[in-house]
Amino acid sequence: MIKSSKQITSLSFQGLSNSYAQLFLSTNQLAGLLIGIASFIDPIAGSCGLAMTLLTNAIAYLFQLNQAKIKSGTLGYNALLTGLFIGHTFTWSTYLIFILLTGSILCLMFTIAFENWLSKKNLPFLSLPFLVCVWLLKLATTGLSNLAPNLNELFVFNHLYRVGGEHLLNTYLSIEQLPIAPVIAVYFRSLGAVLFQYSLGAGILVSIAIFIHSRIAFTLSVLSFISGYVFYQLIGANMNDLNYGFIGFNFILSGMALGGFFLIPSRWSYLLALIIAPTIAIIGIGSEKILGVFQLPLLSLPFNIFVILFLFFLYFREKAVFLQLTPQQFASPEKNLYSYQNKSKRFSGYSAFKIHLPIIGRMRISQGHEGKITHLSDWKFAWDFDVTDAENRTYRLPGMLVEDYYCYNLPVVAPAAGTVVKIIDHVKDNGINQVNLTENWGNTVIIQHAPYLYSKLSHLKPGSIKVYEGEWIALGKTIGAIGNSGRSPEPHLHFQLQSTPYIGSPTLNFPLSNYVQMGIDVPRFTRNGIPNEGDWVENPIPNKLLQESLSFIPGKKYTWQIEQTGLTEIWESHTDAFNNRYLYDPKSASFLYFTNDNLVFEANAFYGDKNSLLFHFYIATQQILLSYYPNLSIENPLDISEIYKPTQRFFQDWIAPFYLYLQAKSKLNYAYFYDDIQSPKIKLEGSIELGKLFSKNALMVFQIEFENGQLSQFHITHNKQQLTATCISN
């Protein structure tokens, strides 16, 4: 709960500013301020909008609605629109206060109702509450003689002269009569129309606000407007609709919403912004006819219908090849895009259910997916495992018996927790180079891990199976031993995933998690992937020191002493209501969200001060395998919006949906390990590497040291500046 008046002021100011900014899908404060100023070109409309936003946010606060939503303007922007409409329609009178109050309550309730109805379907409520409110108010107030219409719009010059004298009028005229092409003028006026400000100046202010907020949004606003304009020209429709009827902004807002807000900006979303005009126009012209019966204004209805309809439609795609929906909304097309690109590079192929290798130690994939021998057609997504020696033989000489084969009788373990659903344990081992085609899968265990996710392990040694049907088994439980039963000319393990519980079921293309490929120059860790034929793979063995050091048990505090500055930084470990875990630095109000599944630590999101030690830790520890392999190197791309300042990426922003020339990656190398018996020490070294158009350089070099069961030191060299932080207590 917010207590102090300072906090209330901050809440109401942010709620207000975001309400203005949200009209153009932004949360940028400067943009909010500019839009706010623009809304006061017609002061009655502007003040009604302001009053109603404040009123609605105050009511929401009094009724203890979610403060985060007040703060983000989510509850306020429909009230703002309604207020602007009221002020635009009526002039000041005491009755108006009554209308504003009723309108606020009504608008807030509709906002809550629409939000809860649509959010269940993952859809935005946009300005639907505003439309319903405004139509009700319009119908209810028709013929009420106590409410005088606002005629400022009709008598602009008179009004301006009355308010600001000749000076203001001249300023206004100089702006309105700027020598610009009519099409640009229409663009600006359309933008102003969102605020019910029928003026070029308002439009210019709004377009500046959009430009400040986002280069992508600005481009999209222009593209979608042009497409609407051209379409109207082509069909010879009434241009006044664009001009006077407050229709044009429907194209602009739809383009901005779909091209760069609800969808990740891309060449496809830009194309979409260019071609949606006809559909929106049809919706607009059509619904105008219906609304006309009741003498109701069309307002933003086409935008609302089209955006919600299109998003709903997109949800039903079975595969999203293009037009990706925004997974996490940062209210900035650029940030959405950079974050999406980063996350999709980092987590592509991420499987919610982790299937590990069904073996202990290191084995060779003797046949991989779509192998040429037997992994064909319906059974192509399978792996065979065996073991070879330095001479590449799978057996000790002479190799005439199954026992001569290195992999024979090695344990087979559960690749994930699950329930055993099927066992065959009676098929005899074949002699070498003989196959059993009648019981071709041989001795087999099938385990159900999740609905429609089964694993099957075949060709096991007869009598070796140590589990029973119906038994629940944990990950890594020994279930049997590798044999030579079934269609197996020499001992090996067949492993496949399938979606049905039968022997002989077709295979399922599902990735394996957290394996390390060995036998190459340096070990390679794969979070999720499909190991290839010929790869030597193993399940990493967790290292206790790394596990303990990065466990960050909730409630613990970590105090860091920074040698060069003498300052301390405290990290508190917390977990939120959704089980998300984060480190929090109270001094800089910074958050680092992370996951740790006891095998991999991943720093996933950061909010706060980028000068904090916590931020440096965040970019250094994007992904840490909690297992020590000498020379293991882990690379992760970084979100460039977190690394480059807005000024540095000004040009990149323009072309970001098409080409990224700015790059940043975090590299981590397992550099040093001393003794795992008593008091182990581990040092990881890494760097943040930047890639610009023609240059590459290291932004930062760091070392993370682990000792005595904890993180001990974090050393950073950044712009030739050294920073050595020592964890002095935890």
Partner: protein
């Protein structure tokens, strides 16, 4: 065409048995090359007798053993048992493969250090550790395996003197169901001696008890004994944790794996009766995985396997000195190597192969060494093809213990060569010379002169 080789006639007792058109055949094939190098050339260059070590076989055997364990248990560490063969080149092959060092004396300890093994990767076993040895081991942070209470008491005193906390383990002996039970080393499990030592170490709080060690015997012909040992040690470790909240981070099961040699008096051939690495691994690893350790806290399994890793890699090349017939009619062959350098012939029925072609006729006989001592018998009973003076033989699987337990007795110890992965021969130990022996002798002045009349 090469001239047909003359073979002397053989006298052979006829055995009745199943008729067989092939006659009785020998198990022997001539072994003319070791790792692609001709035995005759080796002897020509380095003299006879000659120990030959195959680097390829060492690495293959090591990897075979390591794999058998790492494919069954996630945390495995091998430690090379120096006493089995501490020729530096041999040790370093093992160290290159990743082995730590396991030593049982100050001499071996220093050898390991000089080979470049970091002190914290040396395991110091055995009942004989001098004060200086202990101080050195503490200084290098080695793993000291305490053998008896007197050693423990001495270590406590030394710890106070040097003011450092050594890392220690205790050696535990126990009944694993095999005879003989090795109870002369370490502290007994069943009688509570082990707990006595553990209590003393932990309550005294001067050293860190980090591991448990046992070594249940040698040439163990049953893998199951290891399963019993492993589960007893794991049980002990679990209860140490329960009682003192101290984690035992490793379990060292010592050595004792049988090689493929045939023990004297054994009915079956060694390669049939000895368990394979897989058999040992299966027994040990399943016992450890089934112990009360949690999956996240599995102890490191240390193995000090010596014999089974090096035996097959060593061969002894020798030469026939003479043939004679004994009074009972048996044929005797005298070789130029005896029990002085082939100490293991006291235990094993070593397999011998002639190093040149021969026909399929064989004769029962005895193989003697060259020493002028009655005990110098290499094989009491052996069926060999007839060989002439100057012919060469290869004795197989002699890599373990011979090159450490050999004696400078009557004759000098011979050259040792290693054949590397590319079949190149390296001399890794020079044969001894008279100067070498005399060098360490001292002659009192009054004994220097004498006259014989």
């Amino acid at each position: 065409m090469e001239k047909l080789r003359y073979e002397r006639p053989v006298v052979k007792k006829l055995n009745t048995g199943m008729m067989n058109k092939f006659g009785t055949r020998t198990e022997y094939n001539p072994v003319t090359h070791i790792d692609g190098v001709s035995v005759k050339e080796l002897i020509g260059q380095y003299g006879s007798p000659l120990f030959v070590i195959s680097e390829r076989t060492i690495r293959q055997t090591y990897q075979d053993c390591k794999r058998a364990f790492t494919n069954r248990y996630p945390r495995v560490q091998m430690a090379w048992s120096y006493k089995t063969n501490y020729i530096n080149a041999v040790c370093n092959v093992f160290h290159q493969e990743g082995s730590w060092a396991e030593v049982v004396s100050g001499f071996e300890y220093n050898k390991a250090l000089q080979n470049g093994v970091p002190g914290n990767k040396i395991i110091f076993n055995g009942p004989d550790k001098t004060d200086n040895d202990l101080k050195l081991a503490i200084d290098h942070n080695s793993l000291i395996h305490i053998d008896h209470l007197d050693e423990l008491y001495r270590l406590m005193e030394i710890t106070k003197e040097v003011n450092k906390r050594p890392r220690v383990a205790i050696r535990v002996n126990m009944d694993t169901g095999v005879y003989p039970m090795w109870d002369r080393f370490g502290f007994n499990y069943e009688t509570g001696q082990a707990w006595d030592a553990i209590n003393k170490i932990i309550l005294n709080d001067q050293m860190d008890l980090v591991g448990l060690h046992c070594h249940i015997g040698t040439f163990m012909l049953t893998a199951n004994a290891y399963a019993i040992a492993a589960s007893k040690l794991a049980d002990l470790a679990y209860h140490i944790h329960a009682k003192f909240n101290k984690k035992i981070t490793y379990i060292d099961l010592g050595g004792g794996f049988a090689s493929k040699n045939t023990l004297r008096g054994s009915y079956l051939q060694g390669n049939v009766s000895s368990p394979s690495f897989d058999d040992y691994a299966e027994a040990i690893c399943s016992a450890l995985l089934n112990a009360e350790y949690s999956k996240q806290e599995l102890p490191l399994l240390i193995l000090e396997t010596g014999r089974a890793l090096i035996d097959d890699a060593g061969s002894l090349c020798g030469t026939v000195l003479a043939n004679k017939r004994l009074s009972d009619g048996r044929r005797a062959t005298i070789m130029d190597f005896g029990v002085n350098i082939l100490f293991t012939s006291f235990w094993y029925e070593h397999k011998l192969s002639p190093a040149q072609e021969f026909s399929h006729y064989t004769e029962d006989g005895v193989v003697y060494g060259p020493l002028c001592m009655n005990i110098d018998v290499i094989r009491e009973n052996i069926t060999l093809p007839p060989m002439k003076k100057g012919d060469n033989v290869v004795v197989h699987s002699v890599g373990a213990y011979n090159m450490t337990q050999w004696m400078q007795f009557i004759a000098m110890r011979p050259n040792v060569v290693m054949i590397d992965m590319d079949s190149k021969v390296h001399l890794i130990r020079n044969k001894e010379t008279l100067e070498y022996i005399n060098n360490i002798e001292e002659m009192p002045a009054y004994l220097k002169e004498f006259t014989l009349s």
